[in-house]
């Protein structure tokens, strides 16, 4: 990104030229990839011209003014369709920008388009999108991961230099890992959720996707910070991109939880992660075997909470004010017919599950129990950071799977096996590429740190990027 910024700064390229180059990439690759739901060619070019004008007049908004970005289609963009990959919101144009989009505009980033996802971010492959699957640029027969599959694939394929995704249980990290790019799930509260269409408000976070650790850090610095429109956003100080220093790794304590290296883990994934850990050790890091036993309960807990919150958050799609409406004789029938027509099968499944776990007769056994277990998981995670600085695990149990391979929803849910814990405990976690398997599929390593330790995460991620690719 520094190169693009330098070219703009020294007038070797204009924003218009850069945006045009990316639009060409999009035109070329989209027929195979389907990473975008909406490409805003006119809007992006217009914003690029404005950026060029600002730069010519010496009032560039930031060093990145004029560098385009792709935004996941569940993040509100004023006047630009925000479908959440749902038929329900096929023609929904928000009246307002999400705070993160506002942040991008403040920095002068033209929004090149809206990327594909699983409908309302429910899924791990973008196969649940109402607008078709996003294919993996490294192997078109495979998924790009999800739910931020469109953002990860677009960045991996050079359709956009960077992108925003959202992560509720692994939705940034898993596709980043599948597509061989870097993706950060920030600390809960580090980035505003205002304008981000909710899946599960107590878990959702917006985060950056980019090709390098540094670019990811730069993008994070643009969107992090308190927002008075989001009561859950934290007062934490703004994030600054750290100085990259390879020495700090000496004495760094890296926790390696045995539970993440057990049954079900692809051997090639394990080898790549172990190799990377050995590399870090050779540079002076100390590997500490730790236990995160509560991860056994992470997926069940996660699914209970996510479906409960989602069933409530998605209830507003009733056909009354906007979105799909199917006419009916009375209002209740209108609600049900509209929802039946507007939602896809995975969304319906989760709404039913969520409604069940919140119902009076099951609340205690499911929702309340899950909240208790969540507290235990959080304690378990925080206790580990008393011993170690960071925890390193594989991002996913396997590399990208084939389109259509996971017919059983339970199998799909297990994609989040290593990532849901960070959301449940609110800590930041990043996925960084750590090589490829024998089929040439990208593999990812996940680094987790304690709350608001993004700087540490980036520094370790930078070392991984240097040493393990």
């Amino acid at each position: 990104m520094r190169q693009l910024a330098h070219m703009l700064d020294t007038r070797q390229a204009t924003s218009r030229e850069i945006v045009t180059r990316y639009l060409e990439q999009i035109a070329q690759q989209e027929p195979q990839l389907n990473a975008f739901i909406t490409v805003d060619e006119d809007g992006a070019l217009l914003q690029a011209e404005e950026a060029d004008r600002r730069r010519a007049e010496g009032r560039a908004l930031s060093p990145w003014d004029g560098i385009p970005i792709a935004v996941k289609d569940n993040i509100s963009t004023a006047g630009l369709k925000t479908t959440c990959a749902s038929r329900f919101l096929e023609n929904y144009r928000p009246l307002f920008d999400a705070t993160v989009v506002d942040n991008l505009r403040q920095a002068g980033l033209p929004i090149i388009g809206k990327t594909n996802l699983d409908e309302f971010a429910m899924g791990s492959s973008t196969e649940y999108s109402a607008y078709g699957v996003t294919r993996n640029p490294h192997d078109l027969s495979r998924v790009s991961g999800g739910s931020s599959g469109g953002s990860a694939a677009a960045v991996a394929a050079g359709e956009a230099p960077w992108a925003l995704g959202t992560d509720t249980g692994g939705s940034i990290r898993q596709p980043a890992s599948f597509c061989g790019v870097v993706g950060l799930k920030p600390t809960y509260g580090a980035v505003s959720r205002y304008g981000v269409v909710a899946l599960a408000p107590s878990l959702d976070q917006v985060g950056p996707v980019a090709t390098t650790v540094e670019d990811t850090a730069i993008l994070f610095s643009l969107i992090a910070g308190p927002d008075r429109r989001d009561a859950s956003s934290s007062e934490a100080r703004p994030f600054q991109v750290p100085r990259w220093d390879e020495q700090f790794v000496t004495g760094l304590k890296i926790g390696v939880p045995e539970e993440f290296f057990g049954e079900g883990l692809d051997q090639e994934v394990e080898q790549a992660v172990r190799k990377c850990l050995a590399e870090l050790e050779s540079r002076g890091a100390v590997l500490v075997p730790i236990s995160l036993a509560t991860n056994e309960y992470a997926i069940d807990t996660y699914l209970t909470l996510v479906t409960a919150e989602a069933s409530s958050c998605l209830a507003r799609y009733d056909g009354v004010r906007y979105g799909t409406r199917v006419a009916a004789a009375d209002s209740n029938t209108m609600f049900s017919k509209s929802r039946a027509a507007g939602f896809g099968s995975e969304v319906k499944r989760r709404i039913m599950l969520g409604t069940y776990v919140l119902s009076a007769s099951h609340y205690e056994a499911y929702y309340e129990q899950a909240q208790k277990v969540r507290t235990l998981i959080k304690r378990d995670v925080l206790a580990s950071f008393e011993e170690v600085d960071v925890v390193i695990t594989p991002t996913t149990p396997t590399p990208a799977f084939r389109i259509g391979a996971k017919r059983n929803p339970l199998e799909m849910y297990l994609s989040d096996l290593f990532t849901a814990m960070a959301n449940l405990s609110g800590i930041p976690a990043i996925s960084v590429p750590c090589g490829k398997d024998s089929k040439g599929l990208p593999l990812g390593i996940q680094i987790m740190a304690s709350h608001f330790q993004e700087e540490l995460l980036f520094k370790v991620a930078y070392m991984v990027e240097r040493g393990c690719l």
Binding site: I75, S76, T82, C84, L89, Y92, P94, L95, F96, A98, R193, Y194, G195, V196, V197, A198, A200, P201, S202, R228, R229, D230, A231, S232, A308, E309, S311, S312, A315, R316, D318, V320, R321, Y322, D330, S331, N332, F335, T355, L358, S359, A360, Y363, Y367, Q371
Partner: protein
């Protein structure tokens, strides 16, 4: 009213009070009543995707103030929950409310019923958001071809006040609610207009055999749009249930709606049809953690409450229950009373004045200043003008900018009691009626009245009749 002799009636109320904050509970939209439909809403109160709620601190302050005025325990920690249900007037399809951890609990309200003091326990007070308003093309949502929605009201802050089931008569329920309304007005948190929906009440009522400690099956009554409706609906329901029970039947647990025109309650839904609200903690809002000092400051701002004021008026001013109640019920009048009374006028004279012609005129044209009122009363008190003249001065006070004294001067209104000015007039009157003077001197004393009247007429009513009478006696006794 029918006698329900074999049963004890048990009533509990759930009252919704719209708070008088300038902006809504969870966004910054205005809350004024009567604005054009859907002119006071924004992405947040329309529940558009991605929007997030933010708590209006003023609503929390008003909620706490209501709790403090009702003697409640204010919880420094309270939490918001989601209550999920579908209805076209509810934009998010859930209501943000407080379920498990309300802002206030354990309060009470005291009030008089026929000179007897009653006390009703307040179980809890919690904060929640208001829904929008539906306007049906037909009678109800079921039989309408279409219904329109106005979201101006959506998101206005409410408090829900829940009483213990310790009200025992329909009239008591009404008086409780009237006292509660007065209290809310005293502390300035709501305009509590039932006709505008800023005060709403649902009632739960059950009957149990006289003296029994086991509660009967309760029925919830909705759609009570006036104090009268509350009392009538409870009376109707009390009778209905007693007839069901006396006939050996069973009261069904259900919600019933009050039909004002038919004068009866009608079944809405039974317990089995009651919705499962799937309430869970609101993930978009952190719990409230109130600063105890902040709560203390609010407590310090709770003004004198109606019952305390009633007692003070009776005790310190010696007013009757009737007079004191008038002042308590009309705080602007009471304010004037205190100001005027301070100037050394008789307390009862002041109340009588305020309750008389003044009340009617003030309601039409607005209040006069305490200064004007006390000047007027002083003129009467010191005998400058008569009661009759005072009425005339009062009505011109509302239209002219002059002070009472200036009006008296301008119109030449005064009481003449100076013998030096009255004696010539008396002599003139006597000289004009020699026959009658003779008859009076012969013992026909009722003729004094005639002569006083003649003098009054000759002075255009300004003469002080008592003085005239005295002077006449002196003159004729010579």
């Amino acid at each position: 009213m029918p006698l329900v002799t074999n049963f004890d009636t048990v009533i509990g109320l759930e009252i919704h009070v719209a708070l008088l904050t300038e902006s809504k509970f969870l966004c910054s939209c205005k809350t004024s009543f009567g604005a054009p439909p859907n002119s006071q809403c924004c992405p947040v109160c329309l529940g558009l995707p991605g929007t997030l709620p933010l708590i209006n601190e003023k609503a929390v302050e008003y909620g706490a103030k209501a709790g403090l005025a009702l003697g409640c325990e204010i919880h420094y920690f309270s939490r918001f929950d989601r209550k999920n249900y579908f209805y076209p007037d509810l934009p998010k399809a859930y209501q943000i409310t407080q379920d498990a951890f309300p802002l206030c609990t354990n309060g009470f309200l005291e009030y008089y019923v026929d000179d007897q003091l009653f006390r009703t326990e307040i179980t809890r007070i919690h904060l929640e958001e208001e829904a929008g308003k539906l306007i049906h093309s037909g009678q109800s949502i079921v039989d309408s071809e279409y219904s329109l929605v106005d979201y101006n009201r959506a998101g206005i802050p409410l408090i829900e006040i829940v009483t213990a089931p310790d009200i025992h008569h329909p009239k008591q329920a009404r008086l409780f609610l009237e006292q509660l309304r007065l209290l809310m007005r005293y502390i300035g948190v709501s305009d509590t207009k039932m006709e505008e929906g800023s005060l709403r009440c649902d009632a739960n009522i059950s009957l149990k055999p006289k003296g029994s400690s086991v509660l009967g099956t309760k029925v919830e009554i909705k759609n009570l749009n006036s104090f009268r409706a509350l009392e009538r609906a409870l009376e109707y329901e009390e009778l209905r249930q007693s007839q069901v029970l006396s006939g050996g039947g069973v009261v069904r647990q259900e919600s019933r709606t009050w039909d004002e025109r038919a004068g009866k309650t009608m079944s809405m839904r039974s317990k089995g049809d009651a919705p499962d609200y799937r309430i869970f903690p609101e993930p978009d809002l952190p719990p409230l953690n109130l600063d105890p000092v902040w709560v203390e400051l609010i407590a310090a701002n709770v003004p004198e409450l109606p019952l305390a004021r009633l007692r003070r008026l009776e005790r310190d001013y010696g007013l009757s229950r009737y007079d004191a109640t008038f002042l308590v019920n009309y705080p602007e009048f009471c304010e004037l009373f205190f100001q005027v009374a301070e100037r050394g006028l008789g307390y009862e004279d002041v109340v009588n004045f305020l309750m008389g012609d003044y009340a009617r005129l003030a309601r039409e044209k607005g209040h006069l200043s305490a200064e004007r009122i006390s000047e007027l009363l002083t003129l009467v008190d010191e005998g400058t003008i008569s009661q009759g003249q005072a009425k005339e001065v009062l009505s011109s006070l509302f239209s002219s900018g002059l002070s009472p004294r200036e009006i008296v001067q301008e119109r030449g209104l005064e009481v003449v009691d100076d013998p030096g000015r009255l004696e010539p007039v008396i002599r003139e009157v006597l000289a004009a009626n020699p026959d009658l003077v003779r008859r009076l001197q012969d013992g026909e004393t009722k003729l004094y009245g005639f002569f006083v009247g003649q003098v009054m007429r000759a002075t255009q009513g300004k003469a002080d009749p008592e003085v005239v009478h005295k002077l006449l006696r002196g003159e004729l006794g010579k």
